[in-house]
Symmetry: C2
Subunit: 248 residues, 2 copies
């Protein structure tokens, strides 16, 4: 390997340096502080040089968001690796708690990736397969854990709880995505293993997980929550309980 010419190596290196500095500025002083001139200053070069690497500041922020998703996914996967393969409940716990802790520890990154109106950041276009409304790398982790959950548990939802017809077409798209995600892990799956009611429940779980985390990060609970962790844990226990697992 290492076929890369000297120039290519240097380029890759400064490219990493640029994003590392951009990231540091984002973390330290927020999105508006991520300026081309500040990055260049820190790197000992001039701002226009950055245009050799990115089309614009917007473009850089876009790549930055991608990096953040990748890091988040890696962090969640690390946490997941420490948990026995067969303890799916603990896996769900780990991913959800990991997401919350990451978001609280990295509010600026969270805001950039998960609460931006620009469709360019974090979210891909609808896509021909209906995939990837959320950052690619992170979406993979989320889907993967959902996948493990499905593969390890036969028909979590069979309480006859039926899903309104109007949701079928959308949920079937997501069902397809989930089945593919499980398939990618070697375990074949089909619609019997993953009824629409389960797909619906996964969607609702994301709504609640995201809702709680965003409210906490942005401080928008309807009252000053002094101790948010038990609130989160209790929500999580309820989510897991509704899936047909024990809550602990």
């Amino acid at each position: 390997m290492t076929e890369a010419t000297r120039r290519e190596r240097l380029r890759a290196e400064t490219e990493r340096d640029i994003r590392r500095q951009a990231r540091a500025l984002l973390v330290a002083h927020g999105r508006d502080a991520v300026t081309l001139r500040a990055i260049a200053r820190e790197l000992g070069i001039t701002a226009p040089a950055l245009y050799r690497y990115y089309d614009s500041r917007e473009d850089l922020l876009h790549h930055l968001a991608d990096d953040i998703c990748t890091d988040l996914a890696a962090e969640l996967n690390d946490g997941l690796a420490r948990i026995p393969d067969d303890d799916v409940t603990a896996q769900v716990h780990a991913v959800c708690r990991g997401f919350r802790h990451w978001a609280l520890a990295h509010p600026q990154e969270f805001a950039l990736v998960f609460a931006s109106t620009e469709t360019a950041l974090g979210a891909r276009g609808p896509g021909p397969d209906g995939r990837g409304q959320v950052g690619d790398q992170f979406g993979r982790v989320f889907l993967e854990v959902a996948g493990r959950l499905i593969a390890s548990h036969r028909v979590p939802h069979d309480h006859g709880e039926h899903v309104p017809d109007s949701l079928h077409s959308d949920l079937e798209v997501f069902q397809r995505v989930l089945i593919d995600a499980v398939g990618a892990r070697g375990i074949p799956a089909d619609g019997d293993l993953l009824p629409l009611s389960a797909v619906y429940h996964i969607t609702q779980s994301w709504v609640r997980l995201y809702g709680h985390v965003a409210l906490e990060v942005f401080g928008r609970f309807p009252f000053a929550v002094a101790n948010p962790e038990p609130l989160f844990d209790s929500m999580l226990a309820q989510l897991i309980g509704e899936m047909g697992f024990d809550s602990r």
Copy 2:
């Protein structure tokens, strides 16, 4: 009335003009486009003149967020006024649907008020009474509807569903806030009418309402939702159902 001197009237007028222009820029081109110079240009004055009205751009954005909360509250109250006083289910429907429609129609305003990391915007400090983590005016509407709900319905939650001890202290704060909100409407209330399990459910409802709306505004559902409205309505029906009302 109209004790106001000529000068005071003029001042109030330009103050409104400033915020109206700021608002227009926010809506049209996003938060970053709300620049003092652009506002001044549009008003036919110079940028430094704005410092006679606001301490800084940040200060202006803060007041802008307040305005937005007030408008949102007014819009929700308008919708509420069209609904019979005794039909609480319809009232909850109206407020939740109204919030979603407002957010989808005003994504930039939503992002500013409900998804900013700056604590100065929308969120007040913890406050001595533990109130107002969410924009004052909007918070009032939210609490008011919750209040009507409580006042009209005796003990929605008595399925013995018990709330973990670790949540008690926080929920009691919110319970106090809610009881006061009901009291402000003339109807006295106490802890018997509003058990902690009901308070908990109201909190969880906000998590889900906010979660769904934010995910939709920011396009962060895990798959491309072609038709989000039924998804929202079904969540809403479930929320209302869990309160002990019919889902219709």
